[in-house]
């Protein structure tokens, strides 16, 4: 082993100091621009953070691919649904006429929207692919109200960083960052393939994110909460998914 020269020691020290301060600066910048996911402290947080940060830089405004009608799946697959609460079955018996979506949190005007209210707001449709984390997928037409319009109607605060959404499936709740919440393809979906959204696919009301895997597109929505921090929601990891071992960010 050669003795380490003073010059080498100094250059190595300087390189290490530069590397460390570079990392610290990167961390500051990442926090400032929202590139750290709420589950960054989990077991595989380094990989999750790298994926989220890089994909957010690349995809902040990108649109998911939309397909021609001819590519719509003849037999889309309705994944199995976990247990639904008693309230859902009551609402279903009433034809969902009493269905309400609550919008609260960091908003100027909390809302309680019926299905008719939602349908009377703006409408957008797109023919996009739903991809499950298991590997399967299908293409369907999704019709609904852009989430961004509901957030505007409610007067979401500029401090908002996440939209948390809850379901009649009590073990399943999710959240998304504002890049997805304000994304033009993100729909509060109530129609599918020219008809009402069937219950098997999340009807009467399902969140639909086009650039993330299916488990972010939560079925049977009950409530949206706008927040600047995930602290206080479950274990503070962003959604039920990290608590079950899955990534909060599902763009990959």
């Amino acid at each position: 082993m050669k003795p380490i020269s003073r010059r080498k020691l100094i250059t190595t020290g300087l390189a290490a100091a530069a590397g460390l301060s570079g990392l610290a600066a990167a961390d500051q910048i990442a926090r400032r621009y929202g590139l750290i996911p709420p589950d960054s402290g989990c077991d595989f947080g380094a990989g999750e953070t790298l994926t989220y940060a890089v994909q957010r830089l690349l995809t902040r405004h990108s649109l998911a691919r939309e397909f021609p009608r001819s590519m719509m799946s003849k037999m889309p697959f309705a994944n199995e649904v976990g247990p639904l609460d008693a309230a859902f079955h009551q609402l279903q018996a009433g034809g969902f006429s009493n269905w309400r979506l609550k919008v609260d949190g960091l908003v100027a005007h909390p809302l309680s929207l019926s299905m008719a209210d939602l349908r009377s707001m703006s409408m957008r449709n797109h023919i996009t692919e739903v991809s499950c984390e298991e590997g399967w997928s299908y293409i369907a037409e999704w019709i609904g109200t852009p989430l961004s319009d509901v957030l505007r109607e409610a007067g979401a605060s500029p401090q908002a960083r996440y939209v948390v959404y809850f379901s009649h499936q009590s073990d399943w709740w999710e959240s998304m960052d504002m890049a997805d919440a304000l994304h033009p393809q993100t729909l509060l979906t109530w129609g599918m393939n020219d008809g009402d959204l069937p219950v098997g696919f999340g009807g009467p009301l399902r969140m639909r994110l086009t650039r993330q895997l299916g488990y972010k597109s939560v079925k049977y929505l009950t409530r949206l909460t706008v927040t600047d921090s995930m602290k206080g929601f479950g274990k503070g990891l962003g959604s039920a998914s990290p608590e079950a071992g899955y990534a909060w960010y599902a763009g990959i």
Binding site: F44, T51, Q55, S62, R65, M75, S137, I252
Partner: protein
């Protein structure tokens, strides 16, 4: 030919130990073992991910309501997949996916270090590009024939790679690894929104998934043949060369 080869290189290194270069450069050894760790993690987690839906399709979409291109006859970790087995495997997809992507990041970073160092030091040109006279099919076939005849080993090959090895390594480094990364990225819904061409060029997301599966198979095949070759050509000497870089002179003879 092998018996009469002029041992100039060996004699030179025996005559002047100072001129002896390590068998493998430091960065090659460093990246080689990190790549192995990443690859094994990716392989195990990749198999686990496939178990949640052991069916493969061609085109953009695929699900249990569609005919698969082919299915693996293994039980699945989801009860929604018809496998013919009466039981469902435990779901390990969460950590498998997370570790798969974390290992993929590590592999991409290690690969970038290897590529930069490899071009910078002339490693690819010197050690892996087939020599000028043998960049043709004939030279590859000749070397393959020599393997088949199991003739005595060419002494030159103790210090460098033969033409078949060079072409194989270059194919793995510059075709299979880029393809496995590309097909992997093409399955990412967000990546596809920014770079739709990446998935459309492969024929769709399910095609990308199927190709990803076959390319992993090709990489596993490479790994098996690679380990067998190491074993038959002196396992511990090769291991030592890839760990410490050193070659003991008496072993070279």
């Amino acid at each position: 030919m092998a018996g009469t080869v002029a041992p100039t290189k060996l004699q030179a290194s025996i005559a002047s130990p100072a001129a002896k270069a390590p068998r493998h450069a430091g960065f090659v050894r460093f990246t080689h073992w990190l790549t192995l760790v990443c690859f094994l993690l990716l392989l195990v987690t990749g198999i686990e991910i496939v178990i949640s839906h052991p069916r493969f399709y061609w085109g953009e979409t695929g699900n249990v309501n569609m005919a698969p291109l082919f299915s693996l006859h293994i039980p699945a970790s989801r009860n929604t997949v018809p496998t013919g087995y009466g039981y469902v495997m435990p779901d390990q997809n969460g950590w498998s996916r997370a570790l798969h992507f974390e290992s993929a990041w590590a592999l991409v970073i290690v690969g970038a270090i290897y590529l930069i160092a490899g071009f910078w030091t002339g490693h690819f040109r010197r050690n892996l590009l087939p020599e000028r006279g043998s960049r043709n099919l004939g030279a590859h076939l000749a070397r393959f024939g020599a393997y088949m005849r199991r003739g005595p080993r060419n002494q030159d090959e103790l210090d460098s790679y033969n033409v078949l090895q060079r072409t194989t390594y270059l194919s793995v480094i510059f075709i299979l690894f880029p393809m496995i990364i590309w097909t992997g990225l093409a399955m990412s819904t967000a990546f596809d929104s920014a770079f739709p061409f990446a998935v459309d060029a492969l024929g769709g997301r399910q095609s990308a998934r199927t190709l990803h599966f076959f390319i992993s198979g090709a990489l596993v095949l490479f790994l098996i043949v690679h380990v067998i070759m190491v074993a038959v050509s002196g396992f511990w000497r090769r291991m030592r060369a890839m760990i410490t870089g050193g070659v003991r002179l008496k072993e070279q003879q």
